[in-house]
């Protein structure tokens, strides 16, 4: 099963895409993804229910979060209500160690995203802060990467023996599906997604056109 693990909707402050339009776009362009995960910035979107939309388009639509730490941005998959009470998702200075510890305590999976990016990526902070404990997966393909960012991410993943995921980091409709992750089995819920990531049977994919 192929899922785009990193997308934003209008629920995020810089997101400009409406979720129905993502679905329409995926089907109109016959994209090879079977669903996507909405990783809204600094929050978990409990309010939105996309189940009817998912059925209408035959897509899997899941929810997660993108939080901010001293090592940059981190996707958190498998978010539960109790996890959102364990730390303040809106805090832009979260300690990565706390995000990792609390995520694992609550069955969630933290994944530093666009780690090769300046300032908001993990690699930029390793010289000053050291290699963080507990990271097992990083985003190696990000649809918004510029220059050497994905190469830096992949090199870091190789060096630290991290698994890699892919996500488009879409903020507008037409950017969905630029990168994705293939899972060996079916993933139908946030819990199953966290379980699949823990299991390690996945592969990062990039569909970006090479300039």
């Amino acid at each position: 099963m192929i899922l785009d693990l990193h997308t934003h909707s209008v629920v995020s402050d810089d997101g400009r895409a409406k979720v129905p339009n993502y679905c329409q776009w995926i089907r109109a362009r016959e994209l090879p993804i079977e669903g996507f995960v909405l990783t809204e910035h600094r929050q978990f979107d409990f309010a939105s229910d996309y189940s009817a939309l998912a059925r209408q388009f035959g897509l899997t639509i899941l929810k997660a979060s993108e939080v901010e730490t001293e090592y940059g941005h981190v996707l958190v998959f498998g978010v539960t209500e109790t996890l959102t009470q364990a730390f303040d998702f809106a805090d832009i200075h979260l300690p990565l160690a706390q995000v990792i510890e609390e995520s694992e305590r609550h069955g969630a999976v933290p994944v530093p995203c666009h780690p090769g990016r300046k300032r908001v990526g993990m690699a930029a902070h390793i010289d000053a802060l050291g290699v963080p404990e507990g990271v097992r997966i990083v985003e190696v393909f990000n649809g918004g990467s510029r220059g050497e960012e994905d190469r830096i991410a992949a090199a870091m993943a190789d060096e630290q023996n991290y698994r890699g995921i892919g996500g488009s980091d879409a903020h507008i409709v037409s950017h969905i599906g630029r990168c994705a992750t293939r899972f060996d089995g079916a993933v139908g819920s946030e819990g199953e997604l966290a379980e699949a990531l823990r299991g390690g049977d996945f592969e990062a994919l990039s569909y970006r056109e090479q300039a």
Binding site: R16, W25, R146, G147, R208, Q210, A211
Partner: protein, 137 residues
């Protein structure tokens, strides 16, 4: 190809790519007219001294390019808004391309939503956003 009205438009339609003039001479003309004249827009060395990668195309000029692109595609369109997110600088004298695609439309109101991206020669997104425009029936 240009369109005259909403009935000419379908979801997913791609607007003709627009390669705007980002030359120093053109930017200098723009900032003079806009009363935004500052060395960071018209002098590469002065901009680099401020830590920038070179002289910048002003954000409002980029937005003007986006509006111009929409009107090249749909000359009769009334642009309701152009909403942009600036991800990286658009640098003067460096070619860029503007792509647009229709990602929502309402035939009843004649309104379309357009995804817009400004990319550099390497295909990297510098600016993205959406515009909403109303086309005649």
């Amino acid at each position: 190809m240009s369109v005259n009205g909403i009935t000419d438009v379908e979801f997913g339609d791609t607007l003709p790519v627009f390669d705007p003039d980002t030359s120093l001479a053109n930017v200098a003309r723009f900032v003079e007219a806009a009363h935004w004249n500052a060395p960071r827009f018209t002098d590469h060395e002065a901009a680099r001294a401020e830590g920038l990668p070179g002289a910048l195309v002003p954000g409002i000029m980029s937005q003007g390019f986006l509006a111009a692109m929409i009107h090249r595609w749909a000359p009769k369109a009334e642009i309701l808004y152009v909403d942009t997110v600036f991800r990286a600088p658009v640098v003067v004298d460096q070619p860029c391309h503007i792509n647009g695609v229709v990602t929502d439309l309402d035939e009843a109101t004649g309104e379309v939503e357009i995804d817009l991206t400004v990319t550099n020669e390497a295909g990297e997104t510098r600016v993205f956003g959406t515009a909403r425009a109303r086309l005649p029936n």
